[in-house]
C-alpha cells in the first residue's frame, strides 16, 4: 500500500467517475484512491435524472458505479462528506464530518451549483432547484400532493423539469424571461415550435415573464407574482435559471479562480499537484455545462497522472439534445445571424419539421434540428471537421441519406458513415471504436457495448445508432430483444413495463397493450397475469381485476390438483386453531366426502380432492365456522408461522404468536409479485424457521430483529438482517413497508430474495430503516390498497360471484347425439 501514490478526489460526479474508469484501465494499481462526495450515495448518471423525475426510470437504473465497483477497485468512498478545507502546505483535505486525508495528487471536481435568484421568498419551503437526486425526490414528493408547479427558466433543465412534473400529474407553468425558449441553443423559429409542443403537453409557457416575488404562507410556497402584477398559485417553484461553477473551496485554498477554478491545458490549477475537473473548471476562459468536454478533460488528467506531460486539453465544441419523450430537438454550434453567414432552412409544417444550417465560407458553423434529428450527429461531424460542403450544398439539408444519388435507407446511411464519425456525442465514441470492440470482445448486445465502450451509456439518445451498428456488425445474430422481454408479446422487460404503467397512467390491460405496442392481440399466459398484478398493485382503487387473466388457482380461489380436483386451505391465524374450528373441518370432510386431509408445512390444514362444483358449498360451511380463505393459491400473503412464544415457552422473550396473528390479520388478502411467506419466532432458537422466510422476525429481550430475503424452496438461503426495532408497532410498520416496497418493485413471480438481490440489500435497508418518510409512505400505500383487498373471496363466491365458474353450462344426454 505505502508505495502507492495517494490520489484524492473531491466530488463524485460524472466527470471524476469517468476519469477513474480511464485511470483503472490505464494504470489499475498506480494509485490509492479516496473520493469524497457531499451526496449520500454512489456515482449515478445525472443526465438521466429527467427520466427518473418523469417516472420512466428508477434511481437503480441510473447508477453508474455501485458499491461493488468501489470495492473491486479498492477505492475508499466517503458518502455524505463535504470537503470544507484544503491545506495545501500539509497536503491534506478535511471534510465537514471531520475526516482528514492526505494526498499526493488532488482533483477538485465539485461541479456546479444551481443559481438561485435572490427574489423575495426564494427561501420558502417548496422552492427547489434541479441538480441532484435529492432534488428529484423532493419534486416527486410534492408532486404527489398535486397542484401547480411553476418552473422559472425555459432552458434545457427547466423544460426537462417541467415535462417530468407534468408527467407526475401536476399542472405546470414555465416562466421564461426571454421571448423564446432555449434561446441560447435555438433560433426563434425552433423556439416557437418548442413552445407549441409544450403547450400540446398541456404545459403553460409564459415568455417575457419576469418574476417579482415568490408568495408564501406559513413558510411555504403558495404562488408567484410577476412584474406585471399577475399572480399564479403554486405548490412548488423550481428555479432553473442557470448554474455557477462551484469554485469557493478552491478560492478558500487560494488557488487562482475566475468564474471557475482556472486550469492550464494540462488541467492543472495554479498548484501543480492539484487538478480541477468538470463543470467547476475554467479552461481558456470557458466553463462547460455538458458532459462531453468533461470526459475529454478527465482523459487528459489521467495522461498527466500517469506521466504523459505532453497531454493537453484544447477545448470542445458542444451539441445539445433535449431529453423530453416525444420532442426531438438537436442543436450545435453558433447560429446567430451575421453578414458573413448564409443559411439553409427546411420547413415541413405538416410533419412538424424544421431544420436550419448556418454556413460560413462553405462550412457548417451551426445546426438546429427540430422534429427530425437523426442527421444531427452527421451535421455535427461536418461542423467539427470544418468540412467544405460546396459539393453537397444543394441536398445538404435533406441529410446524409440524400448525398450521392439515390436515397439510402437508415441502416445503409449508418453503414456509409466513415469509421471516425462520432456516434456517441456524450462520450466522444466514433463508429470504428464501436464496431471494433463488438468484434474483438465478441459483444452481442447493447449492454455489452455500453460496458466496453461507454457509447449510449450517458444520455442514451444514440442508442438507435448503436443498435444499427450492432446489427450491421453481427448480421442476423444480433437480437435487440436480448434485454429479456417479459414474454413473446413485447420487447419490453418487466422494469420498463412497470415504470411505464405508472408514468403513462395506464389503467387496464388493453391500455397497456395498446400504448406499449404489444405484438399480439390479447397477450399470453405469461404477460397477462403479470400485467393484471401490476395494475392491481399500482391502481388499487381504480383498476378492475381481470379474472380471465389470472391463473386458475387465483380465479377460483383454490389449488388445482393433478386430476382436476381442488384443494382448500382455510386460514388458521398464526397457526392457532380450536376445537370448534377442527370440528367444522371434520364435518365438512365427512359431508363432502373429501378424500384427503393433511397438515401443511405452513401450520394449517389442507383438504384435498374436492370437486369444483362442490367448492362454493364447502366454503359456505367453512364460512359459518368463521374461516376465510387461506390464499394457499395466491401470489400474495400466504402464512405467518409462529411459535408459542411467551404464552407457553420457557425461553420466549416476546408474544411471537400474538405478533404473528396481528401481522397476518393486517396483511391477509394482499397481492404480491410472488408468494409471500412470513414467520415470527419467540427467541433465537427460531422454532418457526423465520430465518428462511421471505420476511421473518426473531424476538429478543430488547425488541424485534427483522429479517428478509430468505428462501427454502427451489433455492435455500438464510435471511439478511434488515434491522432492529423496539416495539411491536414498529415491527409491524417496518415489515409492512418492506412488503409494499417489494410489491411496487418486484417483477411478477420474483420472490423477495431475488428482488432484494437485484435492487441491493443495502438499498432496501436504507429506504426502510433510514428514511422514515419513505417508510411511512410505503406503509400508507399498503394500508390504502388493503381497503380493496381484504374481502374474503370465498364468502363473495358463496354469495354468487362468478357463479358460471362452478357449474357446467350444459349437461347433454348421450342420446342427444345419436
Amino acid at each position: 500500500m505505502s508505495d502507492k501514490q495517494k490520489l484524492v478526489v473531491i466530488g463524485n460526479g460524472m466527470a471524476p467517475g469517468r476519469m477513474l474508469e480511464y485511470l483503472f484501465e490505464r494504470a489499475p494499481d498506480a494509485f490509492e484512491v479516496t473520493i469524497f462526495n457531499a451526496e449520500p450515495r454512489v456515482n449515478y448518471n445525472r443526465l438521466m435524472l429527467s427520466p427518473v423525475l418523469s417516472g420512466e426510470k428508477a434511481y437503480e437504473d441510473i447508477i453508474t458505479h455501485d458499491d461493488d465497483w468501489y470495492k473491486t477497485h479498492g477505492v475508499t468512498l466517503h458518502k455524505s462528506a463535504r470537503i470544507s478545507s484544503i491545506d495545501r502546505a500539509a497536503k491534506t483535505v478535511t471534510s465537514d464530518s471531520g475526516i482528514t486525508v492526505s494526498y499526493d495528487q488532488l482533483v477538485i471536481a465539485t461541479g456546479s451549483n444551481p443559481f438561485i435568484i435572490p427574489l423575495p421568498g426564494h427561501d420558502l419551503d417548496g422552492v427547489l432547484t434541479y441538480r441532484d437526486l435529492d432534488d428529484v425526490e423532493r419534486m416527486i414528493s410534492v408532486a404527489k400532493t398535486g397542484g401547480r408547479a411553476v418552473v422559472i427558466g425555459g432552458g434545457l433543465l427547466g423544460l426537462e423539469a417541467a415535462a417530468g412534473l407534468r408527467r407526475q400529474g401536476m399542472d405546470v407553468t414555465v416562466l421564461h424571461l426571454m421571448p423564446t425558449l432555449m434561446e441560447r441553443q435555438l433560433d426563434p423559429a425552433a423556439g416557437y415550435l418548442l413552445e407549441k409542443a409544450f403547450q400540446d403537453l398541456h404545459i403553460q409557457v409564459l415568455t417575457e415573464a419576469s418574476t417579482k416575488q415568490i408568495l408564501g404562507y406559513d413558510g411555504k410556497v403558495v404562488g408567484v407574482e410577476l412584474a406585471d402584477g399577475t399572480r399564479i398559485d403554486a405548490a412548488m417553484v423550481v428555479m432553473a435559471v442557470g448554474i455557477r461553477p462551484s469554485a469557493e473551496l478552491a478560492k478558500l485554498a487560494q488557488l487562482e479562480t475566475g468564474r471557475g477554478v482556472i486550469v492550464s491545458d494540462a488541467m492543472r490549477t495554479s498548484d501543480p499537484d492539484i487538478f480541477a475537473l468538470g463543470e467547476c473548471a475554467e479552461h481558456r476562459g470557458q466553463c462547460y455545462g455538458l458532459v462531453a468536454p468533461l470526459y475529454e478533460m478527465g482523459k487528459v488528467i489521467v495522461e498527466q497522472l500517469t506521466g504523459n506531460n505532453a497531454a493537453a486539453y484544447t477545448g470542445s465544441v458542444t451539441a445539445t439534445k433535449l431529453k423530453v419523450t416525444g420532442i426531438d430537438l438537436y442543436s450545435a454550434g453558433d447560429f446567430a445571424e451575421a453578414d458573413d453567414r448564409e443559411e439553409i432552412v427546411l420547413r415541413d409544417a405538416a410533419a412538424g419539421v424544421y431544420k436550419r444550417l448556418v454556413l460560413k465560407e462553405n462550412r457548417i458553423i451551426g445546426a438546429v434540428l427540430y422534429g427530425e434529428t437523426a442527421d444531427g450527429p452527421w451535421f455535427f461531424d461536418l461542423l467539427k471537421k470544418q468540412t467544405d460542403i460546396s459539393d453537397m450544398r444543394e441536398m445538404l439539408i435533406f441529410g446524409q441519406a440524400y448525398q450521392g444519388g439515390a436515397p439510402l435507407d437508415p441502416s445503409a446511411a449508418v453503414a456509409a458513415l466513415p469509421d471516425d464519425a462520432e456516434i456517441c456525442g456524450c462520450n466522444g465514441i466514433c463508429k470504428g471504436a464501436i464496431t471494433g470492440t463488438i468484434v474483438s470482445k465478441n459483444l452481442t448486445d447493447l449492454d455489452g457495448v455500453r460496458a466496453h465502450t461507454k457509447a449510449s451509456a450517458s444520455c442514451g439518445t444514440c442508442t438507435g445508432l448503436v443498435e444499427q451498428l450492432l446489427s450491421l456488425t453481427l448480421g442476423d445474430s444480433y437480437d435487440p430483444a436480448a434485454v429479456t422481454p417479459m414474454c413473446g408479446c413485447t420487447d419490453l422487460g418487466h422494469n420498463d413495463v412497470r415504470r411505464l404503467i405508472v408514468a403513462k397512467g395506464l389503467k387496464s390491460i388493453p391500455a397497456v397493450m395498446q400504448e406499449l405496442e404489444w405484438t399480439t392481440s390479447c397477450g399470453c399466459a405469461k404477460c397477462r397475469p403479470a400485467l393484471n398484478y401490476y395494475l392491481v398493485c399500482d391502481w388499487p382503487d381504480e383498476y378492475a381485476d381481470d379474472y380471465q387473466s389470472r391463473f386458475i388457482n387465483e380465479r377460483v380461489h383454490a389449488n388445482i390438483q393433478k386430476d382436476g380436483t381442488y384443494s382448500v386451505v382455510p386460514r388458521m391465524w398464526g397457526g392457532m386453531t380450536s376445537s370448534t374450528e377442527l370440528r367444522a373441518i371434520a364435518d365438512v370432510v365427512d359431508k363432502f366426502d373429501i378424500p384427503a386431509v393433511k397438515c401443511t408445512g405452513g401450520q394449517r390444514i389442507d383438504m384435498l380432492g374436492i370437486k369444483k362444483e362442490d367448492l362454493p358449498a364447502v366454503w359456505a360451511d367453512l364460512g359459518k365456522a368463521g374461516f376465510v380463505s387461506g390464499q394457499a393459491y395466491a401470489k400474495g400473503l400466504r402464512t405467518v408461522k409462529t411459535c408459542v412464544g411467551t404464552d407457553w415457552c420457557r425461553f420466549g422473550t416476546q408474544d411471537s404468536t400474538g405478533l404473528g396473528i396481528r401481522i397476518e390479520k393486517f396483511m391477509w388478502g394482499s397481492w404480491t409479485p410472488a408468494k409471500l411467506k412470513m414467520a415470527v419466532s419467540g427467541c433465537p432458537r427460531n422454532c418457526s424457521e423465520a430465518t428462511c422466510k421471505d420476511i421473518g422476525i426473531i424476538c429478543v429481550d430488547s425488541g424485534f430483529e427483522i429479517h428478509f430475503a430468505g428462501a427454502a424452496g427451489l433455492d435455500i438461503k438464510g435471511t439478511e438482517v434488515l434491522g432492529m426495532v423496539k416495539t411491536e408497532d414498529e415491527a409491524l410498520e417496518y415489515v409492512v413497508a418492506l412488503a409494499q416496497m417489494y410489491r411496487e418493485q418486484g417483477h411478477y413471480l420474483e420472490r423477495i430474495y431475488k428482488w432484494a438481490k437485484r435492487v441491493g440489500f443495502d438499498e432496501v435497508r436504507r429506504q426502510i430503516m433510514d428514511e422514515p418518510a419513505k417508510r411511512k409512505a410505503y406503509f400508507e400505500r399498503f394500508v390504502f390498497s388493503q381497503k380493496f383487498a381484504q374481502i374474503d373471496p370465498w364468502s363473495e363466491r358463496v354469495s354468487g360471484k362468478d357463479k358460471h365458474e362452478f357449474n357446467p353450462m350444459a349437461i347433454l344426454q348421450l342420446e342427444a347425439a345419436e
Binding site: I552, I560, A817
Partner: protein, 109 residues
Amino acid sequence: MNALTQTWVSVGSIEDIPRRGSRCVDYGEMTIAIFRTIDDRVFALEDKCPHKNGPLSQGIVHDGCVTCPLHNWVISLETGEAQGADEGETRAFPIRLDDDQIMLGLGKS
C-alpha cells in the same frame, strides 16, 4: 365426417361464457370445453390436455389458444394441436353460432 350424420345441439348462449374464458359441457363420461375468444369466436375441445389430461377449460385463453393450467402446454383452440415444441392433439368438435346460440356438432365419428 359425413354432414348428414352431424347433429347440432344447442348448449347455451355465447353470453354464458366470459370473453377469454371457457365453460364445460358434460357429455356422458366426457367433458367438452367451450371457449370464447376476445373477438367472440367460439371453439370446442375435449377438456383433456394431450400431455397429462389437464382440464383445458381451466386455462388462460389468449389469441386462438389456451394454456393448460397444469404444465403450461399451449393448445390451438381451432385444431386441438399442441403448439411449439410439444406434440399431441386433443379432439376438436365442430361448433357454430346461430345468432347468440352456440351449436355444438356431435357427429358419429
